[in-house]
């Protein structure tokens, strides 16, 4: 065990720091609280700039535009991005989940075709997995693809598709063999969202905005060469995407949570509670301390997981710990924010009295989605029970 940075890691960090110091946009503050559809072009530009310096996907192999960074260098990357309070990148699913899956399963031609534009944010990706009747039980999905010459004809519906409204491409899981057992008849297709027959409808979330969508596919023709991985091996391809999803968020979210807690502490100093600043109220102090400790533990868990993956080569079901930890921690964190803000906590963006332009009321509602998206907390606990602890399967 040695948490000191190695010479390589130090060099990596210093190079990144120098780059950020000279390239970080100065006007992020004016965009930060705007709705995602307004700030999206800004985030796209920022990602393109990052990739000009080869920083958008440091973990990817050098030949595909990354830096072949180790997991630890990735962790350093996110820590520095946090330190500099850098804006997020636009193509988050492409960079975090879908690109790595294409690198792992794609043909050379597919990698050449898709990877550079994921990196430059020229093509935004979305993840077409969930369906109205297949959520937790993803393998039960019904969207069908029938081979017709050198094309698949796709029919069906997807739901909760984040970035559907802005997506150029979709990693779509479809059923290609209806007679096979449910896990064995799936295939992953890379689908151009401009294909005739694709319809994107906004789906309004409980937060009020439409961050995710419904996708309808009516006789959509997808070239057979757009199959990612082997035909009918789509379950394995999709699971690898889910592993990236569960395993990688922790490092990035440390950045977000640190900002939240730092700001909350600052607010607690100015908000009065029982005749003194809330930051001096013993109960508030207990809660803030618990939260900031858990944010650190999330980081320690992540570093341990990274070390384990570095040693074994693959992200394992332990990623489920991270998923449970960050999602439930974020809910506790936002509840504490509400307690500190009191009546002001409920004020939404646009209200003249809203604190931080309504960030906290939004975040409070948004965190309810955290324990649902990327696999519900219940499903994560099933995974730990079945695959980590070896308990008999409940279904």
């Amino acid at each position: 065990m040695d948490l000191n940075l190695t010479a390589d890691e130090l060099a990596f960090r210093d190079e990144l720091r120098a780059w950020l110091a000279s390239h970080l946009p100065r006007d992020w503050d004016q965009w930060r609280e705007k709705p995602m559809d307004e700030s999206f072009p800004y985030l796209r530009d920022w990602q393109r700039k990052l990739q000009e310096g080869r920083w958008a996907a440091v973990s990817w192999p050098k030949e595909y535009g990354g830096r072949s960074a180790t997991l630890m260098q990735q962790a350093i990357f996110w820590e520095e991005m946090a330190r500099f309070e850098a804006p997020p990148m636009a193509n988050s699913l492409g960079l975090g989940l879908i690109g790595p899956t294409i690198i792992a399963y794609g043909t050379e031609a597919q990698k050449k075709r898709y990877i550079p534009k994921i990196l430059s944010a020229e093509e935004i990706w979305c993840q077409g997995f969930s369906e109205p009747n297949a959520g937790s039980d993803l393998a039960g999905l019904q969207t069908e693809a029938r081979l017709d010459g050198d094309h698949y004809i796709v029919n069906g519906q997807k739901v909760w598709t984040s970035y559907g409204w802005v997506g150029n491409w979709c990693e779509l899981v479809v059923r290609t063999d209806t007679s096979a057992p449910k896990h064995k008849g799936l295939t992953v297709l890379l689908v151009d969202m401009k294909s005739p027959g694709v319809e994107v409808r906004p789906l309004r979330q409980m937060t009020g905005e439409s961050e995710f969508n419904e996708l309808f596919f009516r006789d959509v023709r997808v070239p057979a060469e757009n199959t990612l991985g082997a035909v009918n091996d789509g379950w394995n391809v999709a699971v690898s995407t889910l592993m990236y999803e569960r395993g990688s968020y922790g490092a990035r979210l440390h950045l977000v949570f640190k900002r939240y807690i730092t700001r909350l502490i600052e607010l607690a100093r100015t908000i009065q509670r029982n005749g003194r600043p809330a930051s001096e109220d013993p109960i508030i102090r207990q809660k803030l301390a618990q939260c900031s400790a858990e944010i650190e533990i999330m980081r320690f868990n992540q570093m341990r997981a990274f070390s384990r993956i570095t040693a074994t080569g693959v992200p394992g079901p332990e990623g489920s710990i991270q998923k449970i930890f960050w999602s439930e921690l974020n809910q506790r964190l936002q509840q504490i924010a509400q307690e500190i803000l009191g009546s002001f906590g409920q004020l939404m963006a646009g209200d003249a009295h809203a604190v931080d332009k309504g960030l906290w009321s939004y975040a409070y509602l948004r965190t309810r989605g955290n324990t649902i998206e990327a696999g519900t907390s219940e499903v994560q606990r099933n995974i730990i029970g079945h695959f980590v602890l070896g308990l008999p399967r409940s279904y």
Partner: protein, 367 residues
């Protein structure tokens, strides 16, 4: 940066696990807790042969000179075996205090026998106000003599000497000193016996006057959290095993999600405590600026987690969990005693608050 154990650390942990499994299996642990002191001289000499009594102390005093991470690993394995007797009191506690504040001559006199295995020791800290805040200590030495009472002193009856934390320093008192009265307290934890210790003008040798024990106590606190991690792991292992074999409604109970999810939470709490403890060990070893915070994070989290892991473990065992015969309650008892020792979660949260909140820089921008 590498947060996994090195080969030699894995080796130490592995051999400690095998050693405790062989020398202190559940049957032996149960025999010892029925004795007055839970101390066994033969077991002690075997601990010494392994180098465990001198694990982190300098070689010049007969120690092994390993680091704080290694201490965490050893304590974790001792905790997994629920090792009874004065190992924690002697090595992690008295040893760390001596290592931090005693003079070289005194280390030769007090620490070297601990390393050699020829002395047991403990530290008397708490008083009737049961405060872990050093400022609340009342007892003080006058003219080389102590007068007053200490409570919750672990393993005092088998200690060859006691270190006493007083207002005006740390003092060593020999077990046979005059005016020293040691009486058992009936604690919940059967593995680590507690005593009240009365001093009636008891002669005491000054080990340190006014020196700061904070760093030494941080090592002790982290070691205690490490011990809790081992206990949680054992509780989890026993419980998962039971959930796989106990059948109701024609199925193993581990097939029911209400049971599975409890086990998943036990796993999450155990692993998260372990991450925090290893980090604390490393931060102490490196004298990292966040070492004190890291120790409080570890103790806070492990104190709460050990209790909830125990709650879940007992529940999943059903009626079996409520029996004396099942080991889970013995871990649960230890967890409660260790939860309050060296500050409970509430104490450490307040310490984190003062370290993190009160000194937090004002961020440049709004969140």
């Amino acid at each position: 940066m590498q947060f996994g154990l090195s080969e030699s650390q894995e080796f130490l942990k592995d051999s400690a696990r095998k050693f405790f499994a062989g020398e202190c299996p559940s049957s032996e642990m149960r025999r010892l807790i029925e004795t007055d002191t839970a101390y066994d001289a033969v077991l002690w000499s075997k601990l010494t042969e392994q180098g465990y009594t001198g694990i982190i102390f300098p070689e010049e005093y007969g120690g092994v000179g390993l680091g704080k991470v290694e201490l965490m690993l050893l304590m974790e394995e001792a905790g997994r075996a629920l090792l009874p007797g004065p190992f924690f009191s002697t090595v992690a506690l008295a040893g760390s205090v001596l290592d931090a504040v005693a003079s070289p001559v005194q280390k030769m006199q007090y620490l070297a026998p601990i390393c050699r295995g020829s002395a047991r020791a403990t530290v008397a800290i708490l008083e009737a106000n049961v405060s872990w805040n050093p400022g609340d200590i009342q007892l003080s030495a006058t003219g080389g003599k102590l007068r007053g009472e200490k409570l919750f002193v672990s393993d005092a009856a088998v200690a060859d000497f006691l270190l006493v934390v007083a207002r005006n320093g740390v003092f060593a008192v020999h077990a046979k000193a005059e005016g020293l009265k040691i009486s058992p307290m009936q604690g919940m934890d059967l593995t680590r016996k507690l005593y009240s210790v009365e001093f009636r003008d008891t002669p005491a040798e000054t080990i340190a006057s006014g020196k700061d024990l904070a760093r030494a106590f941080d090592v002790v606190t982290a070691a205690l959290a490490a011990e809790l991690v081992g206990g949680m792991q054992r509780t989890l292992d026993i419980t998962v095993e039971y959930a796989k074999t106990r059948k109701q409604f024609g199925k193993p109970i581990g097939m029911f999600q209400a049971v599975q999810h409890q086990c998943a939470d036990m796993y999450l709490e155990t692993e998260s405590s372990r991450s925090a403890v290893y980090y604390a060990g490393w931060a102490l070893e490196e004298n990292s600026p966040d070492a004190a915070t890291a120790v409080s994070i570890a103790k806070m989290y492990a104190s709460d987690a050990a209790r909830t892991v125990g709650n879940r473990g007992i529940q999943i065992h059903g009626g079996m969990g409520f029996t004396w015969e099942n080991d889970v309650h013995l871990y649960y008892r230890r967890a409660k005693a260790s939860e309050t020792a060296f500050g409970d979660a509430t104490f450490h949260r307040e310490r984190i608050a003062s370290l993190v909140i009160d000194s937090a820089g004002v961020s440049r921008k709004s969140a």
